[in-house]
């Protein structure tokens, strides 16, 4: 039961990263691939109608985390206090800039909010990347299961751990590039004209950059937490994850090379899901690793809710998931194909 809930929680955050990752990526590239305010409206329209639905995956993840792993939520969220608040502010700025930039047909107004949109997406991608790095590396959990740590360290490999240290910043850069590549692949699928052409070029370059970064990150992770690597080699799920990455990468490469945009985007989704999924499978059953003493680590069993709660959540969660999928399929079909700024004005009012 607890292993299944670990799977559900991982699934939710991975779905979130894959879905909203395309928006982060598109946002980070919004000045690179679109040169005028009007072209940037194409990017907003591509993200537009479902961005809140994507963000609800994070909200659903947070709620489900309280319901099934309350003690993890308590420890991690209070330990990462300032970083989480920065994430919240980033979300506020991103959501607002997305919504309001089209409200006034004025070059300066739109450029300003498009800039806010660019930076908030960049900030969020970096912070989520750093969060992933912190999960892989572990945090200084004490015997009471609490931690607090510095926002920055001196970035030396042997110094103290911090929210942003040499390892987590490396992961953050990797994640930012990965999400940018994902976003570029998405924009190639959804846009037309010069935005499309620039996105396609961007996607190829970024995916080429992802490969060496991935190798560097893997080596760093091996150095920082060797046991995690040795464990994961024995796990069939991790091998399955690697298989997903390889197959998806094949689809991605052939899709990019032959201009089959749907195939490329499916491959891109698969690569992201594979990378994050392999990481999650390797972590189980430890949810938060202690860098002070391994016995302080918080396992899924230690932080789980009481059996009744897990059982009850197992009733409503599948219902909610099924309904969410139905809404998504319904809306995606309505918004299938290339976006058109004439049809999908996304708040471009006058």
């Amino acid at each position: 039961m607890i292993a299944a809930w670990f799977g559900v929680i991982s699934f939710m955050i991975i779905v979130y990263m894959v879905l909203d990752g395309r928006n982060f990526g598109a946002g980070m590239l919004s000045w690179q691939v679109a040169k005028t305010p009007l072209e940037r409206r194409q990017i907003i329209a591509a993200i537009g109608p479902l961005w809140m639905w994507h963000e609800v995956w994070l909200i659903g993840f947070g709620g489900t985390l309280v319901a099934v792993f309350p003690r993890l939520m308590a420890t991690a969220f209070s330990g990462y206090y300032l970083a989480l608040m920065l994430i919240l502010w980033g979300f506020i700025l991103r959501g607002i800039s997305l919504e309001v930039s089209g409200h006034i047909n004025d070059r300066l107004w739109q450029s300003f909010w498009d800039t806010v949109f660019l930076f908030s997406n960049f900030l969020l991608a970096i912070l989520f990347g750093a969060a992933a790095g912190n999960l892989e590396r572990g945090v200084p959990l004490d015997a009471q299961g609490d931690f607090s740590m510095a926002f920055f360290t001196d970035f030396t490999p042997y110094g103290n751990v911090g929210l942003l240290d040499w390892y987590t910043v490396s992961v953050a850069i990797f994640v930012a590039v990965l999400l940018a590549a994902h976003g570029a692949t998405y924009l190639t699928l959804k846009t037309e004209g010069s935005v499309h052409d620039r996105s396609a070029r961007c996607a190829k370059r970024l995916w080429v950059a992802v490969l060496p970064l991935f190798i560097i990150i893997s080596l760093q992770s091996w150095k920082i937490r060797p046991a995690l690597f040795q464990d994961s080699i024995r796990r069939p799920l991790c091998w399955l994850g690697c298989l997903v990455i390889i197959i998806s990468a094949g689809a991605l490469i052939s899709g990019l090379a032959s201009g089959r945009e749907k195939r490329a985007f499916a491959g891109s989704n698969g690569v992201l899901a594979g990378i994050f999924g392999t990481g999650a499978a390797a972590l189980f059953p430890i949810m938060l690793y202690s860098t002070l003493a391994p016995e302080n680590s918080l396992t899924a069993h230690a932080v789980a809710a009481h059996p009744n709660s897990l059982l009850f959540a197992a009733v409503w969660w599948p219902v909610g998931f099924l309904l969410a999928t139905i809404y998504f399929i319904f809306m995606s079909r309505r918004y299938a194909g290339k976006v058109s700024v004439r049809k999908d004005n996304q708040g471009f009012y006058d």
Binding site: V56, L65, N105
Partner: protein
């Protein structure tokens, strides 16, 4: 008084109270407005009259702005359970997490999937599906209201729980938890209050246009729909929902009721103070003007019923800010009464066909815009201050619930950050909403104009 030592959770409380009060300025309007949109879309489908579509289109823009601000200010609320209230989450997460998660899975997914379609998708969806999108958004927003109020009801009146071996709360009966008697009353009261906000805002914009002599047909529609619904909702807020809510407080939180009424000495035939100032140090209500027996009757159904006074309870179970609680409650009641009177007169004048030619009444309706918001927030202040000093009534104290790992400095820093960010957000919201209202409902959403059309 040093708030650090007496009240260690002070900064986290203030941050939660501030971010929640600010957040709730937006959902109260969208929950109220949602059913107006459904109604207008339905009328447009049935009659084919374009004025209904025009109204729905105009208000959908206002709705979209409110919804977006509601979403971005709502995420911090859920996160704060972990960031600022870690001990509370450890203690009660197994229970309250259920409804927090159900809100996301069963309500937010529904709302968020269709809100984009409602605000921008008229052309993509066609009239029938666009109507259904409005229904989906309205259902989603009310369902989310139910789940979050279930969470609050558990904190007000915990039922269906058990204490587990590790001392934390677990669920004993899920049906008792979800069907908490408290939540039905609170849900009805709260949702009617949201409808009051929606009605007042719509009527106010109608009055604004009527006074300026523009958009006459739309102004008439807003005034008629807004005042009719406004009167119904204002009456329902008071009776039966508000009445039942007070009885519920009297039954389960007698010390709270005593504090709300500034009643220190208990007794039969207790009166309701129309005015009067609670003097906590001297334990009495100064300068009261009372209606004798009214409180006994309202709370327990008989003029002779015994109403408890604060003196009967140990002081460490008193709400920790009796003055603020007393004034919040009384001001809310006063405003609620005024709403009924204003809307009653407006409906009567409308029935006589004189609403649009009564400038004084139109001015009152237009300037009334802030007051339903104030009344809603006062209602929540009454509920939350009244629950103190408990986070979960009679089970878990507020001062035990905050995150010990988070320093006061960090919380003050983020509180200042929220204040600044929300100030800018408020300016932006008012500017854009004001602009939409100034542009008026005649402007069609025609997609990209300007540069592309010119070419």
């Amino acid at each position: 008084m040093n708030p650090y030592t007496l009240n260690p959770a002070f900064w986290s409380r203030l941050q939660f109270a501030f971010t929640l009060s600010y957040h709730y300025l937006f959902p109260q309007l969208t929950m109220g407005l949602a059913w107006f949109l459904v109604y207008w879309k339905w009328r447009a489908l049935r009659t084919g009259d374009e004025k209904y579509n025009q109204a729905a289109r105009f208000w959908a823009k206002i709705f979209g702005l409110n919804f977006a601000v509601g979403v971005v200010t709502g995420i911090p609320m859920e996160f704060q359970f972990g960031t600022n209230w870690a001990s509370f989450t450890r203690y009660a997460g197994s229970v309250i997490g259920q409804t927090l998660a159900m809100e996301g899975m069963l309500a937010f997914f529904l709302e968020s999937a269709f809100v984009g379609a409602l605000v921008w998708g008229e052309k993509r969806l066609g009239p029938r599906l666009h109507f259904l999108a409005a229904v989906a958004v309205a259902l989603g927003s009310w369902t989310s209201g139910y789940f979050i109020l279930t969470t609050n009801s558990f904190m007000q009146h915990p039922v269906g729980y058990q204490i587990e071996a590790d001392g934390a709360l677990g669920i004993q009966s899920i049906s008792a938890f979800l069907l908490n008697p408290w939540v039905w009353v609170q849900f009805a009261h709260n949702q009617m209050a949201a409808l009051v906000t929606g009605s007042f805002v719509i009527a106010a914009i109608g009055a604004f246009y009527a006074l300026r002599g523009v958009h006459a047909a739309q102004a008439r529609l807003y005034l008629q729909t807004g005042t009719t619904m406004g009167l119904i909702a204002a009456l329902l807020v008071a009776f039966p929902t508000g009445d039942q809510q007070a009885k519920m407080v009297g039954r389960h939180q007698p010390v709270t009721l005593a504090a709300m009424e500034g009643k220190f000495v208990g007794g039969p035939e207790a009166g309701v103070a129309l005015i009067g100032q609670p003097n906590v140090a001297a334990r009495r209500l100064d300068n009261p003007i009372e209606i004798p027996g009214a409180l006994s009757f309202l709370a327990y159904g008989h003029f002779g019923s015994f109403v408890h006074g604060l003196n009967e309870f140990p002081e460490d179970t008193w709400p920790d800010n009796i003055e603020l609680l007393y004034y919040s409650f009384h001001l809310m009641i006063t405003l609620g009464t005024l709403f009924i009177i204003v809307m009653g007169i407006a409906v009567f004048q409308n029935w006589r066909g004189r609403l649009e030619s009564s400038p004084l009444l139109l001015w009152v309706l237009m300037l009334a815009i802030p007051f339903p918001y104030i009344a809603n927030i006062l209602g929540w202040m009454t509920a939350e201050l009244g629950r103190q000093p408990w986070l979960i009534y009679n089970l878990f104290r507020t001062n035990d619930g905050y995150s010990r790992m988070v320093s006061n400095g960090s919380t003050i820093f983020t509180l200042i950050g929220f204040t600044g960010l929300y100030f800018v957000l408020g300016l932006l919201f008012l500017y854009l909403t004001g602009r939409q209202i100034a542009l008026g409902p005649d402007r069609q959403m025609t997609g990209v104009k300007g540069k592309e059309d010119a070419s």
